[in-house]
């Protein structure tokens, strides 16, 4: 039952999404790969699509995977799945707002979760790095990817908007493609 699988998979992802979308890349990658929904490279392509369109990454990826595997109903099931945990949790937390805000249990858990998010994003760097550099297409392609990465890094830390960085790296990719590098 594809709809139930979509709903449950993205329910889990929604329930554990912490600190912005990128921390969840390793989890999403493991889930979509296990179901054969998307390859690693396709997932990284979609990160770019998601950065260039409105909405949180978790919602965008669930809608996309849902639509790809189960049409409109699939998209609804996956998106409902990813949204529902936070919806329910906030309804509960709002009731005990003051208690929650000053809870030592919550702040204790958070002191472990914050560094966990850093570790998870670091492993996302490794897995995305693999899709960029590891399909070995020769030294020139490797150096070209390295060059685009280096330039993008410079632009990103100069606080250029992500969409501009994506456009520039895309244009460079096309130019290098015509030059026979990729």
């Amino acid at each position: 039952m594809i709809y139930l699988t979509l709903f449950w998979t993205f329910f889990k992802i929604g329930a554990f999404t912490l600190g912005g979308g990128y921390a969840m890349l390793p989890l999403i990658q493991a889930e979509v790969a296990a179901h054969g929904w998307m390859s690693g490279a396709e997932l990284v392509n979609f990160v770019a699509v998601s950065e260039s369109t409105p909405g949180p990454f978790a919602v965008n990826i669930s809608t996309y995977v849902g639509a790809e595997t189960g049409g409109i109903i699939g998209a609804v099931c996956a998106t409902a799945g990813v949204v529902l945990p936070s919806f329910i949790i906030i309804l509960i937390v709002a009731k005990f707002f003051e208690k929650f805000k000053n809870s030592r249990t919550v702040s204790g858990c958070m002191s472990g979760l914050r560094p966990a998010v850093v570790g998870l994003i670091a492993s996302a760097v490794i897995s995305v790095g693999r899709t960029v550099f590891l399909p070995w297409n020769g030294l020139t392609a490797f150096l070209a990817s390295g060059g685009i990465f280096g330039l993008s890094l410079l632009l990103v830390f100069r606080k250029l908007h992500p969409i501009i960085v994506i456009v520039i790296s895309g244009v460079l990719g096309i130019a290098l493609g015509y030059a026979g590098v990729f």
């Binding site: 600190g19 770019a48 919602v59 570790g119 685009i148 890094l153």
Partner: protein, 184 residues
């Protein structure tokens, strides 16, 4: 009156959903303007609380904030409509993109573009890593958890949900031990 507030909630969050590229923190200024300044539904102080909570509960920040503001303003119906509103724009846009993306994926130029874009995305993620590291409190616990979570997920393919649960438990255990020590 209630109907008017509800439809306003829905459309305001639809606007917020349609204009926050990348999601998350990008929507803080927009929420501030639309919900606090323009409508006066909540105070500026509430906004800080909302984002503190949205950060420390699971789920995308945009969804958490929409649910929380909607609930504050108009109860359960408000929470439902605000959340629906914030999700709807990206749902429609991504639905359309899913339809076109597959058609274009095999074009040579698109493939090349994405080869470059993946390298750009890697840079975006490195930036996210740097800023999350900057926000993270520096302590022995932090460094240990960071390193263990990284190694477990990147090299040993340990289940991410398990890693998250263990990290939360470790943080809680350390906090409770410290409390007990200072208590006695």
């Amino acid at each position: 009156m209630r109907f008017k507030t509800l439809s306003r909630l829905f459309f305001t969050f639809m606007k917020i959903g349609a204009f926050t590229f990348g999601g998350g923190y990008a929507m803080i200024p927009l929420i501030q303007r639309e919900i606090a300044e323009k409508r006066g539904w909540i105070t500026e102080e509430d906004i800080l609380d909302i984002f503190a909570i949205a950060e420390s509960t699971p789920g995308p920040i945009a969804i958490n904030a929409a649910t929380f503001v909607g609930l504050r303003v108009c109860g359960f119906a408000g929470a439902f409509l605000a959340t629906l509103g914030v999700v709807l724009p990206s749902f429609v846009i991504i639905g359309l993109i899913a339809f076109v993306l597959r058609q274009f994926q095999d074009i040579r130029a698109v493939r090349w573009a994405f080869s470059g874009i993946r390298a750009g995305v890697l840079a975006l993620i490195v930036k996210a890593l740097a800023s999350m590291y900057g926000q993270c409190p520096k302590s022995g616990l932090s460094y240990t958890v960071m390193a263990l979570a990284f190694v477990a997920v990147a090299f040993f393919k340990v289940n991410v949900l398990l890693v998250i649960a263990l990290c939360a438990a470790a943080g809680l255990a350390v906090a409770m031990t410290a409390e007990r020590r200072s208590g006695t």
